[in-house]
């Protein structure tokens, strides 16, 4: 296991909140995605390079037969420039898996250790 980086405290963020953290030369977007789950992704859109922290984190929208907007439990980050969505549980667009997952945001493995949210590099 490599160098340990504390990204934030477990209770510093509410679900759906995010923070920008520098890890070495990289800027990461840290999002609380559940009670004890977090996502860490590069704070740069793989499409055309916008800073994702200028966009929005929200629950992924879906709809049933009645065509009423309904939020999923999962969160996505929405890029500020072209509004591309990235499912923070996969790094893929919410509707595209496999070969159609492009562009892809590379999710970093995040651990909760005690009261710390940490990343190892």
């Amino acid at each position: 296991m490599g160098e340990r980086h504390v990204l934030c405290g477990l209770r510093e963020l509410q679900p759906g909140d995010f923070r920008v953290v520098s890890v070495g030369s990289r800027e990461l977007l840290i999002v609380r995605t559940g009670e004890e789950s977090f996502a860490a992704v590069p704070n740069i859109c793989p499409h055309q390079g916008a800073r994702l922290s200028n966009g929005r984190v929200e629950r992924i929208w879906t709809a049933g037969d009645g065509r009423v907007h309904e939020p999923l439990e999962r969160f996505a980050v929405v890029c500020p420039w072209h509004n591309f969505e990235f499912d923070l549980s996969t790094g893929c667009p919410p509707y595209a898996a496999g070969e159609r997952c492009r562009p892809r945001l590379r999710c970093q493995a995040v651990l909760v250790e005690g009261e710390d949210v940490v990343l190892y590099t």
Binding site: W61, R67, H69, V78, H82, N83, P94, Y95, A96, R100
Partner: protein
């Protein structure tokens, strides 16, 4: 021209088609609207039989610069009858002139275009369908029919589809490539549901009432060049109004609207979906997936690029070899001949799919 003579035409040897062909766009025409009188009850019958009676669907605003008018010149009939109104001529010039195994009649009678008196439009649709069965489908087993509907009353249109859906020669519901509304909107859902319930395709075709994105431009050549915009708009509407999500078995065919625009439209659909999906979260898949799986296109009017290989490149860029189906558009002036329209740049197995297999699968003819 006798059928044997026609089939044996040999312009340069490579052109003959000996294998069976399915033609998905052949226009049967009324000689006049009075032909519908026997199929109408009152109060509608007298609306067309009385002096100054109804003259028919909206007229076409352009005069035709073509030598045969709307028709190819050798399809024009004596005594002023509309081209396409003679079964015998159609049989001679299409069914027997080429190895046509099946020809799908698409009419040009769209009561949806009647902007007034919707009950009259409904009655006309039923009358036309009964006329179609009596005067065309009963004459030749090679002919397959399309149901005319008045889409302005979707529930009634659905009942009309249910009434005729089990006819073994009926394969399709016809809708206008209209510039007046998005037929994918939820209001029209009963119509599409009825098509699926009856295992029928839904075809879109231009009409006299089809306008371009700038309305009616000054010249016919402008109109004829620009109208694919309407099929594109209807296709976009079907996808983003969630029609294919609600009805995954729906089969839609875009007839005579061109197809070489499809690669760029698929890209644009998918790009905008990546950006704007949150507005239409009922659409659960990439738009291009629906188009490739649920939508067919007629080959006619086949484009004619300087390098015919470019045409095949466009075909390949669609990402499926199942979407394109051959059509003559008989009796119209821009008729495509099955032995000449597809350039040799298309491999033999792909030509076979376009001329026969794709339509056989799409319309479930085997």
């Amino acid at each position: 021209m006798s059928s044997v003579a026609a089939r044996d035409r040999d312009f340069d040897g490579r052109d003959r088609v000996s294998e069976p062909v399915i033609d998905i766009d052949v226009h049967e025409m009324l000689t006049s609207v009075s032909e519908l009188a026997p199929y109408l009850e009152e109060p509608w019958r007298s609306r067309i039989t009385m002096p100054d009676g109804w003259q028919g669907l909206p007229g076409f605003p352009y005069s035709y610069p073509q030598v045969g008018g709307l028709a190819r010149a050798d399809a024009v009939l004596d005594e002023g009858a509309p081209a396409g109104s003679s079964y015998e001529r159609l049989r001679e010039q299409v069914l027997d002139a080429y190895p046509i195994e099946r020809a799908i009649l698409t009419g040009l009678f769209h009561p949806t275009d009647i902007g007034v008196q919707p009950e009259f439009a409904i009655a006309l649709a039923s009358a036309y369908n009964d006329w179609l069965v009596d005067n065309w489908l009963r004459k030749d087993e090679r002919l397959l029919g399309s149901i005319a509907v008045a889409a302005q009353y979707p529930d009634v249109a659905a009942r009309e589809i249910d009434r005729l859906g089990e006819h073994e020669q009926v394969v399709q519901v016809m809708l206008p490539a209209t510039s007046r509304d998005v037929l994918g909107r939820a209001f029209y859902a009963p119509l599409f549901e009825a098509a699926v319930r009856n295992e029928l395709a839904v075809g879109f075709h231009q009409t006299n009432d089809t306008h371009t994105a700038v309305g009616l431009p000054p010249y016919y050549i402008e109109w004829h060049t620009a109208i694919p915009q309407v099929w594109q708009s209807q296709l976009i509407g079907l996808v983003f109004n969630g029609v294919f999500d609600r009805l995954p078995d729906l089969r839609v065919v875009m007839i005579e609207g061109g197809w070489t625009w499809l690669p760029s439209l698929l890209w644009r659909l998918d790009l905008n979906y990546r950006s704007l999906r949150r507005e239409v979260p009922w659409v659960k898949r990439m738009p291009s997936d629906y188009v490739r799986e649920n939508v067919g296109f007629s080959s006619q009017p086949m484009e004619y690029p300087d390098d015919p290989r470019d045409l095949y490149r466009m075909f390949e860029m669609v990402g499926s070899d199942r979407f394109l189906m051959f059509a003559t558009d008989y009796p119209h002036w821009d008729f495509d001949a099955p032995d000449r329209a597809i350039p040799p740049a298309f491999p033999a197995e792909v030509r076979r799919k376009i001329l026969y297999d794709n339509a056989a699968d799409f319309y479930r003819l085997r």
